[in-house]
């Protein structure tokens, strides 16, 4: 194993857009910290550029985005492309929360965000345990 593979997994976390609801992401950050991840919390009202800048600066493995405003479908597009442009070719990106206003079925929501290049999409009230297990697996696969 190289040093890089042994190094602590680093994740950038934050709430995208105008939203100031942070309880969900704070619980996840807490759980990540307890599980040995290095967490870079950006708080709320975070822009795409701020996520990318923080990911570059900290050499992050993943960006975890929370959104509760229901406006995520206009806030997330273009993020994957901008990450690639910035040289973050392999970065894992997750999105979770109340993503879309309205009654759209979850499968539709998930498909829509996956088409934007988001690796995994989580509905509200997902256990941090599930997201962390996915994260371990996805980061290991990318680092390999």
């Amino acid at each position: 194993m190289t040093n890089e593979k042994e190094s602590k997994r680093t994740v950038v976390t934050g709430v995208i857009g105008e939203d100031v609801h942070v309880v969900g992401i704070r619980i996840l950050e807490y759980a990540l910290g307890e599980a040995g991840f290095k967490v870079v919390p950006l708080g709320s009202q975070v822009s795409q550029k701020e996520f990318i800048d923080a990911a570059i600066e900290t050499n992050a493995d993943a960006i975890l985005i929370s959104s509760l405003s229901g406006h995520a479908s206009s806030l997330v597009p273009g993020l994957r492309e901008k990450c690639i442009e910035a040289g973050l070719k392999d970065i894992v990106i997750y999105v979770g929360g109340y993503l879309l206003v309205g009654e759209m079925a979850w499968e539709g929501v998930e498909k829509r965000f996956k088409e934007m290049g988001i690796d995994r999409v989580y509905p509200p009230s997902t256990s941090p345990r599930l997201a962390m297990a996915d994260l371990e697996a996805d980061i290991s696969a990318r680092r390999r």
Partner: protein, 478 residues
């Protein structure tokens, strides 16, 4: 930055810049506004009404209300006053105004007029100006408070008070932690110091305005942290000349702990004001049942209003800070608001003449522990600032001596985390950098261990989530 009263020169110099932010600022004339306030009957003065409540054991429900136009605002407030039997009313400015985007608020007013209904989530006070809001004051009978948070509340408050509000908030820590992700604490403290001085100025000229402060959203955290965040700001308010305050705290549902919070807040407010030689501040208390999500199911939502009123009664609070029973569904209608007020009023009537108390032994334990915790935090803040509470607060927030589990602002360490014990009282699951003596840490550990024993498993973040959502599901602790 130090805790020092702004001189008249400093205040009026800053005031020029504040009023220049939007054209309606030029219509604010302090002398004229003071005369206007003096012409208001006592029944429209917040402090007078709360004082009456304190002397007569009354509890008044309060909440925020806001529509885009003055006409709609009058319709809403009149309805809540008449059908909801409200004693106190509130104005919530819209979120564009809170971000100082007065041009976007202006567009919202135009769109609302076209649509024939409010297209904003609150009343754009600045756009309507002093004369606009006075139409509301003249149309209703009760005192009105401004209810909102903003990184820079100066212009909204200038116009709001001159327009006839007799109460508002001044809460730099709350606004720094929860309402804006990018504002620095220094900047929030500075804009709020201005507002405190403005309230002080009115007071010095014979107009008693009531300033509310809650320090932080209390959800999910043991009460001592909220008390400390309130108390450091009480010292700042006192320095700028604030004389009447509504101290607001979150109650979590373990009634012994909730009543203890009221006791400790009252006694330590006096202790710290005296320590610095300030005259006492006339304090009123308000309480809200802390919850992250309002119950979707309407039966539980009514129970929350009942519980909130019971808490206010036991705590000796004058104000019962409720949200409407339709909170979880979206922006409430005027009927939702009125019925919620009516519910609180009926509950208050049932309890009014009765003496009820929580268990004395449990209360004593909670008081002793909370007092020790709050003193540890506030004394350390003062030590960090070499006796200066503003300097100390800035250092304390950076280092997590004053912390918040759910701050939206990344400048906060967010190292603390709360969890419920088996009786539903909030304990420190992680006390982060709070400067607690071993006795306090052991007490909290012991309470958490009791719940672990009952549940037969270690408490972890899954428990944190379930605790945060318990009240929304109609239970205190699962």
């Amino acid at each position: 930055m130090k805790n020092k009263k702004l001189t008249e020169d400093e205040f009026f110099k800053e005031r020029k810049e504040v009023l220049a932010q939007w054209p309606t600022g030029k219509d604010v004339d302090l002398d004229e506004a003071i005369a206007y306030h003096k012409s208001l009957p006592p029944s429209k003065v917040y402090v007078e009404k709360l004082r009456y409540a304190k002397e007569h054991g009354k509890i008044y429900a309060i909440t925020g209300m806001g529509k885009a136009t003055i006409e709609e605002q009058i319709e809403l407030l009149t309805f809540v006053e008449k059908e909801g039997l409200a004693d106190l009313l509130g104005t919530s400015p819209d979120s564009f105004s809170r971000q100082l985007s007065f041009d976007r608020a202006e567009k919202g007013i135009e769109e609302s007029k076209k649509a024939g209904r409010s297209m904003l989530n609150g009343l754009p006070l600045v756009n309507h100006g002093v004369a606009g809001f006075r139409r509301v004051v003249e149309a209703i009978h009760s005192p009105i408070s401004m209810r909102y948070g903003a990184a820079d509340p100066r212009l909204i408050d200038e116009i709001g008070y001159a327009g006839g509000h007799t109460s508002g908030a001044t809460d730099a820590l709350m606004d720094f932690w929860h309402h804006h992700a990018r504002v620095s604490l220094e900047s929030a403290l500075s804009t709020h110091r201005y507002v405190q001085r403005l309230i002080g100025y009115y007071g010095e000229h014979g107009v008693p305005l009531c300033a509310s402060c809650q320090g932080l959203y209390g959800a999910g955290i043991s009460p001592s942290l909220q008390m400390a965040a309130i108390l450091v700001q009480v010292l700042m308010m006192a320095e700028q000349g604030v004389r009447h305050a509504r101290l607001h705290f979150a109650a979590h549902g373990n009634l012994a702990q909730d009543v203890a919070t009221a006791h400790v807040l009252r006694s330590l407010k006096q202790h710290y004001l005296k320590k610095f030689g300030y005259d006492d501040i006339e304090e009123f208390l308000s309480v809200s049942f802390s919850l992250v999500q309002y119950p979707l199911e309407v039966g539980s939502a009514f129970a929350v209003v009942f519980m909130n009123t019971l808490m206010a009664k036991l705590c000796g609070a004058q104000a019962n800070d409720i949200r409407t029973v339709a909170e979880a569904k979206g922006i409430p209608t005027k009927e939702d608001t009125a019925y919620s007020f009516r519910t609180a009023k009926a509950m208050e009537n049932f309890l009014e003449t009765q003496k009820i108390e929580v268990d004395k032994k449990a209360l004593d334990t909670e008081v002793a522990m909370a007092e020790l915790e709050v003193r540890s935090i506030v004394d350390r803040v003062l030590e960090l600032g070499d006796g200066d509470v503003v300097d100390g607060t800035i250092k304390a927030v950076k280092s997590g001596v004053l912390d918040n589990p759910f701050a939206t602002n990344p400048a906060s360490p967010c190292k603390v985390m709360g969890i419920k014990d088996s009786q539903g009282a909030l304990r420190y699951f992680n006390h982060g950098n709070l400067p607690f003596p071993k006795e306090v840490i052991d007490f909290h550990k012991g309470k958490i261990a009791e719940r672990e024993k009952l549940k037969g498993k270690k408490l972890d973040y899954e428990t944190l989530v379930s605790d945060l959502l318990a009240v929304s599901k109609g239970v205190l602790v699962e």
